[in-house]
Structures are given as structure tokens and as C-alpha cells.
Symmetry: C2
Subunit: 411 residues, 2 copies
């Protein structure tokens, strides 16, 4: 489903995107969805590392395709003088540069913010890195898993006394991508107010600290180190996944009203007025007494039976959906959260939709992920007015690579 | 550390904030950090539910305090006619309204977007809910845990064949808060372009689908349902937490270069050229053969010894930090990611800092979380020019509550 272009919040914004793999590409994915023109600069040879991540469809990485819709691909060698020149010309006519190299890489290339702001004082320079541009860890290598582990979330995720567990999706990268997108919007708005660009510095580990919710203040106030609690909520009971006859069901009794209704539904009205369980505070205190009582009841019906019974009575509950269930879920479908795009070589693929629903200027999916170098010629010709002869010369010298030229050679 | 007010990206923006607990307050926290004036409307009686969430310091909820800095508190009863009137007057002079009620609640109060946009066509109306404003699930109750379970992330988090595990921080709420903040920025930018406000609709479950990374495409392409893998990366090996002599150490060998360096460091150079382990693809294929070999080596040193040895050799690795370690971490400190604020009754508390570092117009923490009704008088007098007599009458009628008036009565 390729939507037609409409008014979008970033329709006047051009982003030069040097990012690879996940955190940076996730940020520019959001900017692209909201209308920005995103020009992805890929290095000659292999381009974005994630082009090599399986599974593949007709030779194209599905991982890459799910993160790079709405972007153009220009292959340009920033290590060569002529590549730097072209890059600087792009910066002149753009609004935002986003990179997720280790700190210092752009400076070494002679393309750091100090250089670029002299070329275009309105440019917004965005650096998304593992640990940020400052501090003793700035030079350390980082992956999602490293910042999940160092940032604390792994220490509070998992079974009680179990082995370490990674959050199953790369929230180290993804939350950094989200904060980075907010950083770009912030700097754009500031530019509208003060007329100048600035540098936006986002560190993945900082973002992990920012999403720890109450863990930091809880430790600060009590000195107790929070531990993993399986599926249990730290301060609400009952609020976890219980074993049913055929799997698990999440039951989330968020307040005392739900509790007394739940007790009626399970035919145990006496529990509601039991002096051990009347209030949430009491249920937290007497958790070990209450848990086996509920376990014994929940295991008697299937998950579907529980969901139907409890939902009918307005009690928060659900099954734990596996990805196939999410994929075919009627709400996900109704909200356009899985969309089909037609890729020129891979054909029809399904990727996540846009979760920000704007009534007047909705985001849109205007193009599938680009082929490697698909827009080299278009961008350089149209935007920088490089002649066809010069392009061919640059191509021969290895400064740029163009998909079409490659195809032509093949033919 | 209360910073002095400076140029901030949202310094001209006023937000009326009807949100409670987490997803909505997290969004307005970000807006406040970036300079917006956030006027939190709390209901008479108890205010934001999270004011009752422990632990407490001098009677103030630390949970509430960590999420509501930079906000003002106005207590206003939206069920009463006079409360609605005052609310509408606030909408007239504001830019954004954010709510996280279940869909339909604002319409029932007579304060839905259709009504508010007639009062102020530039108003941006933001609804952050469990399942969004449309679709068959729109009326269902939702908590973080419900959307974590329904949205798929729980099904891929946890030990292999283990019990269900919740992500230890409320990423269902928090990622929705982040997308909501981006939605606000988008609508503000669109308003600058088209001159009108609009409605922003964010559903927590949609956001869960949007952060599933490659799980959706992986299922689409292969038909295989992804499972929890403990701390293991699905397609890179070795890339997980290994047992050390005194705990665990995360070792993240992201490419073949790191692999051969790792093999030297552990004095097993022969592994690097072993035909079973030479490339990442081979290591993934022969995981069960390689894992015990590495296990046996890693268990011989302590976590600290490994981190020092591997870091010196530039190999990505780390300890799994518990929250106390994060709290005192030197990088976290260097990045101002835990800051102290002085609360008028609770005293000095430590809360997470701002992860978006802007060079020219940085975010700022200008005030601690408000006392319940602390700004009722200030906002209504200064912004709406209500006279002191009228205020006192409204207070008597229970339309508003003012912290200062309560204090006066007490004296």
C-alpha cells in the first residue's frame, strides 16, 4: 500500500542520512514517514551493514527493507576528496545531517559539525552514538545488547533468580532512535525561532537511563536494588501471567474495584472481603498466600475461555500473543499497523505501519526501501546539477556508485 | 540542579495536560524538558493516580516526582459546568491538549476534539490510549503489561522454554509516550505550515508493533514464529551473556574481525580458523558446538577481569549493571543523566536527566514536580484573569482546589 504524497509535517525538510543498521535508521525512518526527504548515503562496496542481515527475499535483506522505506540511496565515498566535496554540496542544500558513527569519525573525515556549520549555518547536525559525544566511555564500542546490559534494563528483566535475559526487541537502539527523532524536531523548531542550526547529541546509554521508569528513584529512596520479577508487577497484585489449561493468560487487576469484580467472576466473592486481600497493599503483602489460590483457579480454563469471561466483565486481561498472532490481529489490521509495500525486486512485503496517526497531515509510505545506489544519479543530477559526463567519470573513479549504471554495464 | 531558563525549542508552547500515570505524563515530561509550559489538570480528590504510588518521601510519591518535573498542577473538576468553562478558557489560550483517557471519555464530558477545535482552531488535540481511537479493541482497558503481552514483545523476551517475562521497565507506556511526543512536534510543525491544529491519535499497542524490529518481516518471510532466546542475539554468535567466575559478562562479537581478535585474547587462535567457526554464519550454524567451548573459558575469570581484558583489546563487552551500578556509573554522571532536584516538601531527590543534548537550546529542568494544586491560583489568576473573590467561590463550590488556600485553611 503506497500512499499518495500529501501535506506532511516535514515536507520541506531534507535529511542527509549517514546512519547504519538500527538506531540512526530508525530515527530517519520516522522523519521519512512524516514527510522528510531522506537521502541515505551509503559507502561503496556493501552500503549499510544491515543489507547483509538475513532473511532475504530475492537477494534483498528484509531487515534493511523494514527500516529504510521512504529513503533514497546514494553511494558516495566520503574518504575520497571528491566524495567529501559532493557531500559538502549536499549539506549546503539540506536541513539535517544524521550520523551514528563512533564519536570522532566525522571529525577525522574532515566533516565534523565545526566544518559543516561553516558551509551551512542552518544545518542541524545529529549524532546518535552508543555513549554520546562526551564522557569517559565515548570511545567504547556499543551494540544494543551492550547498552541494555550497562543501562540497567537487563538487570530488572527476566525470571526471579533466572539467567540474564535480553529484551527481545532492540530497545537500546530503538529508544535512542525515538529520542533522536525528537531531537531533530526540537532543533528544527529552535531553528524556526532563532534562525540557526545546532548539534544534537544522543547517547544510547543515556536513553536507557531515561526509560528506567521508577527504578532510579526507587533505589534512591529505599537503597534496595530492584530485581527481575518474571511477569509480575512490582507493586500491584494480582498483575501477571498465570498458567491456564493450555498456556498463559495475563490478568491485570489494577485497582480494588477490578479485584472485587474478579472475585465475583471466579465465584470466590469471599476473597474480596478477606482481610488479607481486601486492598492492593494487603495483596502485595500477602502475595505468597494469594498466588497459589489464583493459580489453582486459573489453570482450570483455557486462555481463550479466560479472555472471553474476563473481557465480558470488563477486567483487563489478555493472551500473550506470539508474532504470528500479532501479524493477523484484527486491531493491528484495523489500525494499519502492518502494511504492504511493493519492492521492485523483492516484490510485495509486509512491514510495520506508522503509529503516529495525524488527522490532517498523516505520515505516508511513499516508496519502498531503496536499492543500493538507486538514487545516486537522480540526487546528484537534480539536486547538485552534476552533468552526466561528470557522473560517469565519478563512477569510474569509484567516488560514487549508481545502480542504473551498474545495470547498464551488466546488460 | 535547577537550571536557569534559556532559549528552549518549545518556549512559546503551552500544553494543557490531562494525562495520568505514565504514557501521557512521559510525553508531556519530554515537552516540558524541551521548554513547553505544561499545565497539568488534576481531578479533585486525589489528582493523578500515580500520586498514590510508593515509595514516598515526606508523603510525596517518588514515582510521581520522577515523571512530573517542569509541570504546573491545577486542580479542576471537569465534570462540573464551571470546570468545563474554565477548561475551555484554558484551551483558548493554549497550543496543545494531551489526554490519555479511554476513547470516548472526553466526548462524554462534552470536551472532545470537535468541541475544542471550534473554540481554538489552532489547538492540537492529542489522545494517547491503549489501542487508539479506532478499531474493535478501542474500548478495552489497557495497561503496560497488557500491551506488552498483546503486542508481541513478551513472546520474544525471556529464557528459552521459560515462563513469560515482562520487560522490566514499562516500555508499553514509555514508547507510546515517545511516539506521542513526536506526534506533538509533528502537529506543531504542520501548524506552522498550514495554520491549523489537528488531532494526534497514538495507541500503545500500535507502538509495540512499530518497535518489533525485524520480528514482523522475519515471520512474514519465513513463517517461523520467533521465540525468546534468553540473552542470545538471534543471528550473531557469540553475542550473549556468559557465566563468569563471579557473575555474568556480556560478550558481543559483532563481526569476524572481533572474532579473530577475541580468539587471540583467549589464547585460542586455532578457533579463528576452525572451519566450523570462521564466519558468523558458521558460528550461528554450529552454535551448540561453540557455546560450551566459550562457556568453559569465560567461567575461569571474574566479570571485572574479562571486562578489563576485552575492553583493552577493543572487543565489545560489559557487565550487567544493576540499578545501583547505573546510579553511580561514571558515564551516567558525566552525561548528567541523573540529576538532583530540590522539592519543597520532599527535599533533594535524584531523578533521570534529559537524554536529548542540544548544543544551543538545551532542555532544562526548571522546577520540581508540583504539589497537588500548587498552581491553581497562579494559572487561573494570571492566565485567565479570574478575580480572587471568584477563585475563592470556585474553591468553595469544589470546582477547583488550590494548595495555598488549603494551607491557609489549615493555619
Amino acid at each position: 500500500m503506497i500512499q499518495s504524497p500529501r501535506d506532511t509535517p516535514l515536507k520541506d525538510i531534507r535529511v542527509i542520512d549517514l546512519t547504519r543498521v538500527l538506531a540512526g535508521p530508525y530515527a530517519t525512518l520516522i522523519l521519512g514517514d512524516l514527510g522528510a526527504e531522506v537521502i541515505k548515503i551509503e559507502r561503496p562496496g556493501n552500503g549499510d551493514d544491515s543489507r547483509a542481515f538475513g532473511p532475504f527475499l530475492e537477494g534483498e535483506s528484509l531487515y534493511f527493507m523494514s527500516l529504510n522505506r521512504n529513503k533514497k540511496s546514494v553511494v558516495l565515498d566520503l574518504r575520497l576528496e571528491k566524495g567529501k566535496e559532493l557531500f559538502k554540496k549536499l549539506v549546503e542544500v539540506s536541513d539535517v545531517v544524521v550520523e551514528n558513527f563512533r564519536p570522532g569519525v566525522m571529525d577525522k573525515l574532515g566533516l565534523g559539525y565545526d566544518v559543516l556549520k561553516k558551509i551551512n549555518s542552518r544545518i542541524i547536525y545529529v549524532a546518535c552514538s552508543g555513549f554520546g559525544q562526551t564522557g569517559p566511555y565515548r570511545g567504547l564500542p556499543a551494540y544494543d545488547m551492550i547498552v541494555q546490559a550497562m543501562g540497567g534494563v537487563m538487570s530488572i528483566t527476566g525470571e526471579r533468580d533466572g539467567s540474564p535475559v535480553r529484551v527481545g526487541t532492540s530497545i537500546g537502539d530503538i529508544t535512542a532512535g525515538l529520542f533522536t527523532a525528537i531531537g531533530v524536531f526540537s532543533a528544527l523548531r529552535a531553528r524556526d525561532l532563532i534562525g540557526e542550526g545546532q548539534m544534537v547529541d544522543v547517547g544510547m546509554m543515556d536513553c536507557q537511563v531515561a526509560i528506567l521508569e521508577n527504578a532510579i528513584v526507587r533505589y534512591f529512596a529505599t537503597g534496595e536494588v530492584p530485581k527481575p520479577l518474571g511477569s509480575r508487577h512490582p507493586s500491584i497484585v494480582p498483575f501477571e501471567a498465570f498458567k491456564s489449561k493450555d498456556g498463559y493468560v495475563v490478568i491485570a487487576i489494577g485497582n480494588d474495584g477490578f479485584w472485587s469484580r474478579f472475585c465475583s467472576v471466579i465465584n470466590k466473592p469471599e476473597l474480596a472481603c478477606d482481610s488479607d486481600f481486601q486492598t492492593n497493599d494487603l495483596r502485595v503483602e500477602n502475595y505468597t498466600k494469594l498466588k497459589p489460590i489464583i493459580d489453582q483457579i486459573v489453570v482450570q480454563k483455557t486462555t481463550d475461555e479466560w479472555v472471553q469471561l474476563l473481557q465480558t466483565n470488563g477486567i483487563p486481561c489478555c493472551a500473550i500473543n506470539t508474532i504470528d498472532k500479532v501479524f493477523y490481529n484484527e486491531q493491528v489490521k484495523a489500525r494499519d499497523m502492518i502494511v504492504e509495500v511493493e519492492h521492485p525486486t523483492a516484490g510485495k512485503i509486509k512491514i510495520p505501519g506508522i503509529p503516529i496517526k495525524l488527522s490532517n497531515t498523516p505520515g505516508s509510505i511513499r516508496s519502498p526501501a531503496p536499492l543500493y545506489g538507486q538514487h545516486t544519479r537522480e540526487v546528484l543530477c537534480n539536486l547538485l546539477e552534476i552533468s552526466t559526463e561528470d557522473l560517469e567519470e565519478l563512477n569510474r573513479q569509484g567516488v560514487i556508485q549508481d545502480y542504473a549504471m551498474k545495470c547498464t554495464l551488466k546488460d
